[in-house]
């Protein structure tokens, strides 16, 4: 299968990065010095965090890091439960998404780092480092427990092992970890930067794409370069590059909008159950709960009367905060949905009373 454009045109070197070139130069300097710190790369989704991490790794270890293989490892928790987690690794680094392990992320993080740090690199040649790198993605989803465990592990094994953490937001990460890492912010590219990159890719692909469509795509994605490239390729596959065409909207967004319609259509217990099924389906497909919540509120606010909007938003903030604190997201989402139904229904009744 041919690669997606996203992967095909991903820059492989720090020198070939398209934007934030100043930062790329600084990273290059950082790698050249022998003392490499733990990194904490953060920034919005689709801004190029992972790309930069891979570039740094290549700069550190050479082309060897590009020989990747994926491997499933099993970690046994103290309660003898076996947790399987997928890793992507090369000879020099290993990448995991600890939030895949759910509440067992602490065990996974500690076990893995211990395992890596125990085996030292042998035969250190000129450009080989004496440490390995562990890349942890979606660190902002790590439980507090795991973060505290990480703090200790980071210091203990810093001789043989460096960490590169990747997160969208710094706020869920405890200060203790932030202060142990060199933070690197990767801001989203501007609309112009996205446009340039898209046109560059299209040129390489021999695809004639109207400038207005490029602009439309760049504006619609909210700084998410990956999504821009995906949409662009999707348009190409559909063989529809008309400048005034509709951009494809993800099915989950449509799905959430439909859920909102169900909520406003009729307020009943049966409908609560239907909404619950919908929310379960969304969660199961891996859409982050905060995005579901956000999309749902956006859709609901559009449908309800201006008078109750402040109240709705206040309730939403309460439940969203509760959702962040725990990992039973569905309970809080449903509580919000029920609350909204009641507010909406009461408002409708009030309106009818006036007549």
């Amino acid at each position: 299968m041919s690669l997606l454009w996203v992967d095909k045109y991903r820059p492989k070197d720090l020198s070939t990065l398209d934007y934030h070139t100043q930062q790329a130069q600084e990273l290059k300097n950082l790698v050249e010095h022998g003392d490499f710190p733990h990194l904490l790369v953060y920034g919005p989704s689709g801004a190029g965090k992972k790309t930069r991490i891979m570039c740094i790794l290549k700069e550190l270890f050479g082309t060897g890091v590009e020989r990747l293989k994926s491997e499933n490892i099993t970690v046994t928790t103290p309660s003898n439960k076996k947790v399987e987690i997928m890793t992507i690794n090369s000879n020099y680094h290993i990448e995991i998404n600890p939030s895949d392990a759910g509440i067992y992320d602490r065990v996974v993080v500690m076990d893995l780092i211990k395992k890596i740090a125990q085996s030292q690199q042998i035969a250190i040649t000129n450009n080989q480092r004496e440490f390995k790198v562990v890349v942890l993605t979606e660190v902002d989803n790590l439980t507090k427990d795991a973060q505290h465990a990480l703090r200790r592990t980071m210091e203990k094994y810093s001789r043989n092992c460096r960490l590169i953490l990747c997160a969208t937001s710094l706020s869920p990460i405890i200060p203790a970890i932030q202060s142990r890492c060199l933070p690197i912010r990767v801001p989203a590219p501007t609309i112009e930067e996205i446009s340039t990159i898209i046109s560059k890719i299209c040129k390489k692909e021999d695809t004639a794409i109207p400038a207005t469509l490029i602009e439309k795509i760049s504006k619609s994605v909210n700084g998410n370069l990956r999504r821009a490239i995906l949409i662009c390729e999707a348009c190409k596959v559909e063989n529809n590059l008309q400048p005034n065409r509709e951009l494809p909207e993800p099915d989950w967004k449509v799905f959430i909008k439909q859920t909102a319609t169900i909520i406003t259509h009729r307020q009943s217990i049966e409908n609560i159950m239907v909404v619950r099924e919908h929310l379960y389906e969304l969660l199961a497909s891996g859409i982050p709960p905060e995005i579901i919540f956000k999309e749902l509120i956006t859709a609901l606010v559009l449908k309800c009367d201006k008078q109750i909007i402040p109240q709705v938003l206040q309730e939403a903030s309460t439940y969203e905060y509760r959702m962040w604190q725990g990992n039973k997201h569905i309970v809080h989402m449903e509580a919000f949905v029920v609350k909204f139904m009641c507010l909406y229904q009461r408002h409708l009744k009030d309106l009818l009373k006036d007549f």
């Binding site: 990956r226 497909s285 891996g286 449903e334 009641c342």
Partner: protein
């Protein structure tokens, strides 16, 4: 004279001399089975009325005294007979035949030759709830069959162990290897080992137990009986942790399960106890009217029943406070009262508990209503973890509600209690959270819907991790992947209008 004293000292050390001081010994041994707490008192064995031991009087003296179902006694006796056999030479062929029979039937028995004699090594494991008479039955049967009993007790000299010397597990193993030497005071060749106290080290680490079992399997010549008490909590469930199926098969351990004592048998036992007590009219009064209550409140626990009888029969306590049981649907009329102070802990199964919470019973009182339920008792009786129970409640509560506004409150309360449940590191918060969830659901349910509903288990959300690409796509971008590759590798939402 000198010899006698040393003899006594030794008897304390090595276990009971069977023949010499038979009366004394048998009492001290058997006392444990009914009431361990009283054993201190009884060791003194004085004959004055002040130190009269209630449990000594009423303990079963012969097998026929036991209030265990005769079939169960037969089962255990049959097992003991097979294992101990008659004379070894005579039974040589018999055992082999039986062995082959058993193999045909699918049972596995380890047959081994040692010193020219086949020895069937069977270990039995008796299980049953507390106070169902496991230990008493084994002891009395052994006495009847004239078999020595050696019991393992956990060593108590903890300090010594911490400083140096073998740990509990090592001592446990030693107990088995020592058992092949016959007692100096007994001419009896037959012997049964009983393990009732399991060393803590082993309970925590079942693997260690398995290796000990492996050693025991080859070392001991005597049958071993493990006595496990049923337990609700996972951690102390000896039967499940220490005797999983494969272990039972591997070492050919037969399993004899005891049930709680049936009310009729318990009644028989209590009556027998009362008859025996008639001999001591100046110490005990006979509370005849209370037997039914004792049976009801002990819930088949013989030990508990006897303790209650003890309490009831002491002179000072003439009237025990009774609780009137809230009548259940089946036997409203003949439900006897239970004794207030001596109720055994009741436990509620998951479904029963859910039913109580989701179908709250209410009583009207002067225009207001109250929940007809002892909340403290209800929450205490749940055996399941609070978080699990709360998620069960969440999964099922909708169907039992009849009004949207009720649900609004209930959902709010559930959300709040789930927030508290996140603090799982402190146990007390969990209980409070469970309280909030339970009470909230019961109080808010003003328009109850009574119909049969299927209980659903909490849904497990398992993320789709089916990605072998090096750069994993964000789940929100998977739609484009489907679009570009024209595949449906990822989940598609049905967006029909």
């Amino acid at each position: 004279m000198k010899k006698l004293t040393t003899n006594k000292w030794k008897s304390f050390e090595f276990g009971p001399p069977e023949k010499d001081t038979k009366e004394n010994q048998s009492t001290t041994r058997k006392l444990k089975n009914l009431q361990p707490k009283k054993s201190l008192k009884s060791v003194k064995g004085s004959k004055t009325n002040n130190n009269l031991d209630f449990h000594k009087i009423i303990e079963p003296k012969v097998v026929s005294d036991l209030i265990i179902h005769p079939k169960k006694v037969q089962e255990l006796e049959g097992w003991l007979n097979t294992v101990l056999g008659g004379s070894k030479k005579e039974t040589h062929k018999k055992i082999r035949d039986e062995y082959q029979d058993r193999v045909k039937k699918g049972e596995s028995v380890a047959l081994k030759y040692r010193n020219g004699f086949p020895i069937i090594e069977i270990k039995a494991q008796t299980t049953g709830p507390t106070g169902s008479g496991k230990t008493s039955t084994v002891r009395l049967l052994c006495k009847q069959l004239n078999v020595d009993v050696t019991e393992w007790t956990n060593p108590v000299d903890l300090d010594y162990e911490i400083i140096r010397g073998p740990g509990q597990a090592a001592k446990f193993l030693e107990f088995f290897s020592d058992s092949k030497y016959p007692s100096l005071f007994s001419t009896n060749k037959k012997k049964v080992l009983i393990v009732k106290d399991f060393p803590n080290a082993i309970v925590r680490n079942p693997d260690e137990f398995f290796s000990i079992l492996e050693d025991v399997h080859f070392q001991t010549t005597h049958p071993v009986i493990f006595i496990c008490t049923d337990s609700n909590s996972n951690e102390t469930n000896l039967q499940r942790n220490l005797f999983p199926e494969e272990v039972l098969l591997k070492y050919s351990i037969s399993n004899i399960t005891f049930n709680s004592c049936a009310p009729t048998l318990l009644k028989k036992g209590l009556k027998r106890a009362l008859e025996l007590l008639q001999a001591y009219p100046d110490t005990f009064t006979l509370p005849l009217n209370i037997i039914e209550s004792i049976i009801a409140s002990s819930m088949g626990d013989i030990r508990c029943a006897m303790n209650q009888l003890y309490l009831a029969s002491i002179h000072a306590e003439t009237n025990l406070p009774l609780i009137k049981i809230i009548g259940s649907k089946r036997k409203k009329n003949d439900q006897p009262n239970t004794i207030k102070h001596m109720r055994r802990d009741e436990t509620l199964g998951l479904f029963h508990g859910l039913g109580r919470v989701l179908n709250p019973k209410k009583i009207e009182q002067n225009g207001t209503w109250r929940l007809n339920c002892d909340m403290q008792k209800l929450v205490d009786e749940f055996t399941i973890q609070p978080a699990k129970f709360a998620s069960f409640l969440f999964e099922n509560y909708l169907k039992y509600f009849g009004d949207l506004e009720d649900i609004e409150q209930a959902a709010e309360i559930l959300s709040f209690s789930h927030k508290l449940l996140e603090n799982w590191d402190s146990g007390e918060t969990l209980t409070i959270a469970l309280w909030i969830a339970v009470l909230g659901l019961m109080v808010c349910n003003q328009h109850k819907v009574s119909r049969w509903n299927q209980i659903k288990g909490p849904k497990k959300i398992e993320k789709e991790v089916c990605d072998n690409d090096v750069f994993r796509l964000h789940p929100s971008d998977r739609y484009y992947y489907n679009l570009i590759t024209k595949s449906d590798k990822y989940h598609k939402f049905k967006c029909g209008t």
